[in-house]
């Protein structure tokens, strides 16, 4: 393909697109086979998929309008309020659509495989659970199915790439093939990928994974009722979830404990036990995974964006631009991250921004700003290196616009490095976010929205009692996730650049904003 520099990018894209279509039409069979599997996978989870997409759309709307609101609000409060009202309306509309999507039956939902029910006699059969099985078994079946489904989906995505590579890609080889091949032999990196995927699945399927729901068990326990078999009266009784929670607390002393993998007095199964307020720790943890990973992802995307802009412009123009970027970056890093987060958290208390993403949005933006210097430093070297190459000079002398040069010729060289450092930095974000929620007092994720740090805080005084699970389990989740993210980063680094063997700045960055 000999596109000339004077081609606009769009021309070339269009041409490639038609070509891909031609190739598809010439040999449709592999693509059709792959697509058929896709149809099955989508059909099974249609409702959840639509709901997920709407949730994503909702988050985007809120994020974008929040930014507009902040900028406009700086000039006129009234314009800011108008944007806020528009945001509320849009978000409400999307919520409506989402509940509609929730009514579409899906295979992996709690309605298809219910695990909540009650005994009809002292040892008697279970009523309301999947096939009359014990709640624990029904829940386990759902959990296994969710992870099987996720594994199939991830494999299917990989398979799609293989199909594309073997049947439709024009070139026989790209550097990316080598990257994938090297990852195939990298056990440590594969461990990282598996851990990350397990947690991504946990976050995506959080509502289906828990033995109960956040809405029923945590947010409004007094507007939900459950039935249970009461051994004393020998009959099936009805109780508010809130009251049931009250009697299922894990408080260390006496019989006030519902440990991991046990039932409480109301026939509810708790895979991770209960919290000090009787809520289900597993449901709490998977919902916490969702918010943690959302904030981690958002902040790293933001930081990478800033780092890309800074590295591109400073490497392209050098001189004064570079110097100013260095000073700004150094200024930001001169304040330890956690202190900056604490200050921001304090200063914005009560502001409406702390309502977006349950308080996470404000911190995600702050993380984006705090993390951008270290990310920028890690890609500054590669960016400067590539800016010295001859093809950049050539592009310049052909009169290509700076932005096009940066995007087409410099960015692809920098992105893999961002992936490595980004994945290692996310761990720091997750730890710091947990630390903020641990401190509480208006910092971190707003209660009652689940957050890992808050569970650790609740279990703080029960570490050496029978209720050890409250602080231990969420902490282990964090350790496993952060270890996995670091392994993932190691794997990608070794895959893209087998020469570089560990060491250097990213290690310090990974320990991160600390806490």
């Amino acid at each position: 393909m000999c596109a000339t520099i004077t081609d606009s990018a769009r021309d070339r894209d269009r041409r490639e697109e038609t070509r891909l279509r031609d190739r598809l039409l010439a040999n449709p069979e592999p693509a059709l086979r792959w697509g058929a599997v896709a149809l099955v996978l989508v059909a099974v989870e249609l409702g959840a998929l639509a709901g997920g997409l709407l949730l994503l759309l909702d988050a985007t709307v809120i994020g974008v309008t929040a930014l507009i609101e902040v900028i406009l609000g700086a000039f006129s409060p009234r314009a800011g309020e108008a944007v806020y009202a528009a945001q509320q309306a849009a978000s409400g509309f999307l919520d409506g659509l989402r509940s509609a999507a929730g009514n579409v039956p899906t295979l992996l939902s709690r309605e298809t495989i219910p695990n909540e029910g009650y005994k009809t006699g002292p040892n008697g059969p279970w009523e309301g659970t999947f096939l009359g099985l014990q709640p624990a078994v029904a829940w386990a079946i759902r959990l296994v199915l969710v992870y099987l489904y996720a594994a199939v989906v991830f494999y299917w995505v990989y398979r799609g790439w293989l199909v594309f590579r073997d049947h439709y890609r024009q070139v026989d080889w790209t550097p990316r093939d080598d990257v994938v091949d090297r990852l195939r032999d990298h056990r440590w990196g594969q461990f990282g990928i598996v851990v990350v995927l397990v947690f991504v699945t946990m976050a995506l399927f959080a509502p289906a994974l828990g033995p109960t729901t956040v809405e029923q068990n945590i947010q409004s326990p007094y507007s939900h009722e459950i039935q249970y078999y009461d051994a004393e009266s020998g009959s099936v009784e009805t109780v508010y979830v809130g009251d049931a929670n009250f009697n299922s607390k894990s408080k260390g002393q006496g019989d006030q404990n519902v440990g991991p993998m046990t039932y409480d007095d109301y026939g509810r199964f708790h895979p991770f036990g209960t919290l000090t307020n009787g809520r289900d720790l597993f449901t709490f943890s998977v919902a916490g995974a969702r918010i943690s990973m959302m904030i981690g992802g958002l902040s790293i995307v933001l930081a990478s964006l800033l780092a890309v802009i800074a590295s591109m412009t400073s490497a392209y123009y050098k001189g004064l631009v570079d110097l100013v970027t260095i000073l700004v970056a150094d200024g930001i890093t001169s304040i330890p991250g956690l202190l900056l987060l604490l200050m921001v958290g304090m200063a914005f208390q009560g502001h409406w921004l702390t309502g977006v993403l349950h308080g996470g949005f404000l911190y995600a933006v702050t993380f984006g700003i705090i993390l951008f210097p270290s990310l920028w430093r890690s890609v500054r070297g590669p960016a400067l290196q590539v800016s010295e190459e001859e093809w950049i000079d050539a592009a310049k002398s052909f009169g290509q616009r700076p932005r096009t040069t940066m995007r087409k010729h410099m960015l692809p060289y920098v992105v893999p490095y961002l992936l490595v450092y980004g994945s290692m930095t996310v761990g720091g974000v997750i730890i710091s976010m947990a630390a903020l929620s641990f401190i509480g007092s208006g910092l971190g994720i707003n209660p009652p929205t689940p957050a890992w740090g808050r569970a650790i805080d609740m279990g703080r005084n029960y570490v050496s009692t029978q209720s050890w699970h409250i602080a231990l389990i969420p902490g282990i989740l964090i350790v496993v996730l952060v270890t996995g993210l670091n392994a993932f980063g190691d794997g990608i680094r070794d895959a893209i650049d087998p020469e570089s063997e560990g060491g250097g700045e990213e290690e310090a960055a990974a320990g991160g904003a600390a806490g």
Partner: protein, 356 residues
């Protein structure tokens, strides 16, 4: 370039960094929706008192006019840079912030010094060990331990350790071990590290060994937690650095010349391994300052981190501003020290600073 000139240049370049950091602090504290009046007086304050307070804080002129933001900014910069921090608003109302910081400094220093020492004393030998016995079970254990150790949140580790050390916990014997001490709270012996004895006519203080031991044992768990994440870094980076220098040609040369194993490891490998370790060691100070907030909170140590946290939770702006300034100064100083140390360890890196 002359070494002194280099240091002077670095110091000059540090000035805009400090100013930028202070500006960010100002932007967050003064331009955000945060309202100092409510922070001090509560929601329904008497307007008269509020006005007086605003005047005394420099937010309004005595005639009621608001002070323009740029004058507030200028005053904030001048006051902070000249260590004129003003008085605490909330935490200990009326006490000078500088005095408060001075009082809390020893506990944080004690904790910080020991956590660096412990991290270095455990991390570097473990890293060297793992590198020298690469791909053995010992190496795997040390490396994997380092990785997991690094992934553990400080505050969680602190919670677990404090729980295990508490009465009834698995490790509760620790408090009675050798010397009876507590583990929660500020070690009282800290105020008495240098006993009442003094030497010579000028009165050089003599360290009191018993109090040192008590204060050390008391702070040990907290220091272990605080040093943990950097310890993991040191193991990992030490290992790679050792491997790298073991594979370099000059080691082969030395071996061929019959230089003994001990000399090779001690003189060549260890020294070269120090170069990549240096930023990690210096980076510890970042972790220390951020991490001390939580570790001091959990172990109940009355230090600077704890002070910062209570100032933040109470919106005590003068203390927050003063502490931030102190922390910025420390970090900028250590950054410069790191680059200077580089030129001493490895003269090839030169005085222009290392290449990023």
């Amino acid at each position: 370039m002359n070494k002194l000139l280099y240091i002077a240049k670095r110091l000059v370049l540090g000035v805009p960094v400090v100013l930028f950091g202070l500006t960010m602090t100002f932007v967050i504290l003064y331009l955000s929706p945060f309202d100092p009046m409510t922070a001090i007086l509560g929601r329904d304050a008497d307007p008269q008192t509020a006005r007086q307070l605003a005047v005394s804080l420099g937010l309004r002129y005595p005639n009621g006019e608001p002070v323009p933001l740029w004058i507030q900014y200028r005053d904030f910069l001048i006051d902070t840079v000249t260590f004129n921090f003003g008085q605490s608003w909330v935490v200990t109302r009326g006490q000078s912030a500088a005095q408060l910081i001075w009082e809390r400094m020893p506990a944080t220093l004690w904790l910080g010094i020991w956590s660096v020492v412990i991290a270095l004393a455990l991390g570097i030998p473990l890293g060297l060990y793992a590198g020298l016995r690469a791909n053995t079970w010992g190496d795997y254990t040390a490396s994997f331990g380092g990785i997991v150790w690094r992934a553990m949140p400080n505050f969680w580790l602190a919670v677990m350790l404090a729980g295990l050390l508490s009465a009834g916990g698995l490790l509760s014997f620790y408090r009675g071990f050798l010397i009876p001490t507590d583990v929660i709270g500020t070690p009282a012996a800290l105020g008495n590290l240098f006993g009442s004895y003094s030497l010579g006519p000028v009165g050089i203080p003599v360290p009191d060994p018993y109090n040192w031991a008590v204060a050390f044992k008391w702070i040990l768990p907290a220091a272990l937690v605080l040093g943990s994440s950097s310890m993991g870094n040191e193991v990992r980076i030490g290992r790679t650095a050792v491997l790298e220098s073991l594979n370099s040609p000059y080691i082969d040369t030395a071996k061929a010349k019959g230089v003994s194993e001990r000399v090779i490891v001690g003189k060549h490998v260890a020294r070269n391994a120090m170069i990549p370790l240096l930023p990690v060691i210096m980076g510890e100070f970042y972790l220390l300052i951020g991490g001390s907030v939580l570790v001091e909170l959990i172990f109940g140590i009355r230090g600077l981190g704890n002070l910062f946290l209570s100032a933040v939770l109470a919106s005590d702006v003068p203390i927050i501003g003063a502490l931030t300034y102190v922390f910025i100064l420390i970090l900028v100083f250590f950054n410069i020290a790191q680059d200077v140390a580089y030129t001493i360890i490895d003269p090839r890196i030169g005085l222009e600073g290392r290449e990023d």
